[in-house]
Symmetry: C2
Subunit: 226 residues, 2 copies
């Protein structure tokens, strides 16, 4: 494989560069599989990291509003942010304490987020946010009123400075560990949906997108360990 | 319940203050259940958010090193950070797009992180990091060499400015949604461990802490939905 190239100096992965990837397809797959992001921004000179909902729409992500309030107090129009999404795939159990690790796939996006003000784009962003949580949901629920649209801020962030960092596979076994007699390997982790709890409305039972909830990247429901 | 009090003005939850909690016991339970944190810091005037391993030890957390490198370039000794840990508990499906939400428990810790330099404390931090991933693991694996200890940075961050934000329960049903005929409720999400993959060493099969991996806060392995 040709050496991957970072889109900018500051988005180049410095630690463990062998774990770095920059392909758009991989960035998009991780963003589409995960459900929350951690949004970093600076307010009053201090860094904040807030978990929030997001959704990808082509070459950008829309970010749901609540963290925006504090952020937008300290800047108007556009703000420097770092949006990070992480999928934890497994625990890597080595024969030495030092080589314990985790398998994961993460995306970090640096850039300047703009507030979405155009009503039509804002409605599109809401649609993407709902569909990101549950595909097929937007068409069956009540649409946002003007008051609802106005009461929530939405940010947009381009994917130009996105980088992926990932690890997969079993533990490293350096020479010093080759004689160590202890089990080593990976404990895979998965996020699974349990049966939904709620109430059917008259003539409106839960559809298969609720009863058999799944996401891009999810395989058939795994059996838990143990 | 008496009104919760934030430990500092900047750590007071502003959006959805009804979701805020500040009890140490709850902070500790969330930190002990989750496996990765998202660490925010400022470098060259820009916010960064990096996923990394951490572990709680009493009234502080130890943070595993790789993100520290870039961070410590821009400050020596102590650096302002924000460490956020989030457990996603479920998807909240309302009858209207606007009221869709997520159930979650998150901890945000603001503070000044110091680099752990004392060799004895650094060894303790490594022990906590390994035991956080898998209780009982430290005693059965090769201990870190001096070279290994020196090659990884560890940060410590006190829990003084920690706040919890959480949501639980079903969707809000405002008056405008009461006539809407669509299923509404919660789709619970869980992290589960799958059967481990790896190789037994001679006379060292995987113990129950590997074969039946569990964590503080985890209940009996749930059956996945669908």
């Amino acid at each position: 494989m040709a050496e991957a190239t970072a889109p900018s100096s500051r988005s180049r992965v410095r630690r463990h560069p062998e774990r770095a990837r920059y392909e758009a397809q991989l960035v998009e797959a991780i963003l589409d599989e995960s459900m929350i992001c951690h949004l970093g921004f600076i307010a009053d000179g201090v860094p904040y990291v807030v978990p929030t909902m997001y959704a990808r729409a082509g070459n950008q992500v829309y970010i749901h509003g609540s963290p925006a309030s504090r952020m937008l107090q300290s800047a108007s129009g556009a703000v420097d942010v770092c949006l990070t999404v992480t999928l934890l795939d497994g625990l890597v159990m080595a024969r030495s304490a030092f080589h314990h690790s985790m398998n994961y796939r993460s995306v970090m996006i640096l850039g300047s987020a703009r507030e979405v003000l155009d009503p039509a784009e804002k409605l599109t962003a809401f649609e993407r946010l709902v569909e990101h949580v549950c595909r097929g949901r937007w068409g069956e629920v009540r649409q946002p009123s003007d008051k609802e649209l106005n009461s929530t801020k939405v940010l947009a962030l381009g994917l130009q400075e996105a980088s992926v960092k990932l690890r997969s596979g079993g533990p490293n076994v350096p020479e010093a560990d080759q004689g160590v007699s202890v089990w080593a390997g990976e404990i895979p982790l998965r996020t699974v949906a349990l049966p939904p709890s709620g109430e059917d409305q008259p003539n409106s039972p839960a559809g298969s997108h609720i009863m058999s909830y799944t996401r891009p990247g999810w395989t058939a429901p795994p059996q838990p360990g143990g």
